[in-house]
Amino acid sequence: MADGLTNAAPAVSTRPVVSAMSITRRYGEGESAVDALRGVALEVMSGELTSVMGPSGSGKSTLMHILAGLDRPTQGTVEIAGNDITQMNDNELTLLRREHIGFIFQFFNLLPMLSAEENILLPLSLAGEKPDTEWVDELIGKVGLADRREHRPSELSGGQQQRVAIARSLVTRPTVLFADEPTGNLDSTTSDEILQLLRGSVDDYGQTIVMVTHDAGAAAVADRTMFLADGLLVKDLGRSSSSQVLAAMNDIQTAAAR
């Protein structure tokens, strides 16, 4: 199943920043045990937007959590920027997250009592780092919140809140940014804007992104799309149109139905 993983991707990338080696994840024990991942190996290339697709329950979220060090695999190892994260303790993982990892969630998860700008600066402030004002201004301009800096989350629309979350995840210039259904909670117009924003960060800053999505349109923006089914990596497409992605999804679903 791991064959052709790298050669299938277009050659924009230079080196892998995340690599997973034969990871499995089992929930529970005995009879009722669920194998959410049953041996997945992959590499995420620097400067690429990688999307992960698959039917509900196929293990996408589980995979992403493990790649990001939020969960531990039952077996196998994960390396981020050359560090084996499966052996790290909580504190080391936290420090790794600070330095290398950004998150975008389906629910925006902003702190209600902080302003948009304060939310964006939160990871830096937790790490005790001084913000690079030029970069922060550029970022806020890029996500289109220049006139919303002092607003509280409750005063922002869903799309605006997700932009705050994106800016927050980019502010530390993480090695890799993980997004679990970042547009899952938004209407299609807003979704498109958010996807363009993610795409833009890859093109303009060489940001590496891994994005879980159900939306073929979203996958079409990606440099590469990996398909999960029943805990296994079953397909790995390069840049594809949304109809190609849909066709691949259909294949997978019919294969599963058989």
Partner: protein, 854 residues
Amino acid sequence: MRTATVKGLLGRKLRTGLTALAIVLGVAMIAGAFITTDTMLKASDDLKQASYGTADAVVSGRTAFKLSDNNNGASQRKSIPESLAKQVQSVPQVAFASPEVDGEAKLTDKNGKVDKSSSGPPFAVGFDTSNPTARDLSPFKIRSGALPTQPNQVAIDKGTFDRKHYRVGDTIGAIANGSVQRFTITGTVTFGGVNSIGSASAAVFSLQGAQQLLGEPGKVDSILVRSKPGVSASEVRSAIAQTLPATAQVQSAQSQDRFDLSGLDSFLKILRTALLVFGFISLFVGAFIIFNTLSITVAQRTKEFGLLRMIGASRRQVLGSVVLEAIVIGLIASIVGIAAGFGLSKLINALFTSSGIDLPTAGTVFAGRTVIVAIAVGVGITTLAGLGPALRATRIAPVAALREGNVDPVRKRGKLGWAVTILTSAIGIGLVSYGVFANGLDATSVLVSMGVGSLLLFVGVALVAPQIARPLASVIGRASERFGGSAGRLARDNAMRNPHRTATTAAALMIGIALVTFVAVLGSSMRTAFDTQIGNTVKSNYVVTAPDGFAPFSAGTADALAKQPGVTAASVREDQVKAFGDKQSIDGIDATAGQVLQFNWKSGSNATLAQLGSDGAVITKKFADKHDLKVGGTLTAQSASGDKLNLTVRGIQKPSEFNPLGLADITISRQLFDKTFEQPKLRYVFVNTSMPEKQLAASVSQFPDAKVWTLAAYKKDQDKQFTSFLNILYALLALSVIVSLFGIVNTLVLSVFERTRELGMLRAVGMTRRQVRRMIRHESIITALIGAVLGMVVGVFLSALVTQALSQYDVGFHLPIGTLIAFLIVSIVAGVLAAIGPARRAGKLNVLQALQYE
């Protein structure tokens, strides 16, 4: 609905438990107050029963009135000739008449030091120990060893014996009026069925030994009578009465009450009231916590209530379910509280013992009343506190079920709300002011009006607190931001984000801090005033008192001191008389008093003190005003033995209202005093001399019941006693502070629980466990400090009012800055302690699960 409530409570065990704890302590205090004092009153009853013994009648000297046992009245005795016993014995209805000596004598240990471990009264009795019926009639029973048979032997109470590690055969001293006499210990005694007789000690002598010690050979104080079989107590009494001379009387043992314990009983009743008051304070604090916790849980269950309403629950059912929750919590808390009250009663006992107040003990008394009151109060207060949140729950609309997330309903204060807030505070301040400023109120009205007023003021401040909490949190939070980095900053934001919650949590602590501040400021003001006033009155450089500072001591001390070359000594002796129908203290002073004491004269001068002669008196202005007396006027005072003193007023003086030396309203010359009272005892000797302290002390070494202090040391000792009193108050108030700690814990736990997903996100974007814990800790400290600041403001305000009212007693307002800073530090520590559990919980959250938490 009812099952849903109970299941809900069970499902939230931790929360229910924490909420209940807030009430448990208050209930425990109330139950403890009842159990402790019931037990002690029972012990005191046993003591009385024992002291009456099995005697059918008691013959004693006739007194004009019964002296009260205030430790200062010295010549409590009016003895009768021992020969009267033979006469009583010859009455046909009498089976046996046992002459007995009852007095007081302090014991000195092997080193000749007076036993300070018991503060008295030091009972000393003597009877015919060789006669079995006499032994049977006496309340003192042999416990180990033997009763004394020789005049130089003694048996002492088991408490003292054990405390001082004596052995049978040891020699100890006893001192009554003259100098120390030595006795050999033959054994230990108990007083009836009671092991410890509180602070009292007891020594049993042979009849002759007691007579020698108390300085009255051939005289006794009472004759205990056993009647012949078939003769009733009243028959034997009337038979004896006919034979007695006018100077003697016969009474039942009850009414004669040889070992007067009414002082103990009234002390216990005051103690009970005090403990109940502190219990209610704790419950009051607990009510805030119940209110707050239920408010938070109602807010967190908005969706649930919306859903219940949507599927058809009526407002009434919603109300019922929250109120039922409160009742169940109250009931659990009360039951646990009663159990804890048992433990607490032991603790209270230990507390008093360690502060030198030893109280009598007997088997624990657990009255039905204790249970009823504890449950009624516990459940009642919890239910009352739950009413507000319950009403708020009924206002949740069914659509709330459809909204995203649970939100605290926005509580906007309407005009009415403000009116209530302002009115509550105003009435509170009004009542306190009325209590302290109004003239002619009795002590109870003053205390009640101050107490109720303060409670209302607390409620008023708590109602305003949400408005102040945000700016206060912002200011106090600056420090957190400084010391806690970004975790500290988030803590500050968290404390500000729900000012209602922060304010109510802080308000609970405010009450405790306000009360300790009040006590501290008032204490410090009074102490300062006290010191100044002693300085104004006492012009000698030495003061001689009993070792404990207040007990009466040997009159011989004054003469021994006066004999020393280069010494000016003036003694003050004290006893009781009846004047204008009231029992009254009376002082006798030396002619030299004017040289060592400065009175504040309205008429007369220090010279007047030397000219009192055999009928002159100096009285206080208060006494003069009350009885409309002027210089040259006359009054009659009757001593307990019946002697009438016709006194002429020679001077009127106005002691500071505080009367720090506790001097009497009537002062007569020493000569008249000694003529009137059989066995005068001293309260003070004031001494002026250039002699060093050691040498002066050596000159009275034969009186171990006297202690020489430099004036400074005396003041310091008085301060020490005052401080230990304040410490008891602090310890009792600490309970309400502990209760409010549970409130902080509760709020933190609920907030952590509510912010689970947020905490997950913070951890995901790089917050370390340490930072999470630090954030929660700072939230806690900020809340605690808000409470402390509010409390100190209220406490200082209240004490300023009271000291203002006390300015007529020359009490100024004095801020004990050091103590107040200590309270701030205590508050910070309290905040840190309260945060330990919740911070751990928050730190241990699994990031992934927290993120997925709904």
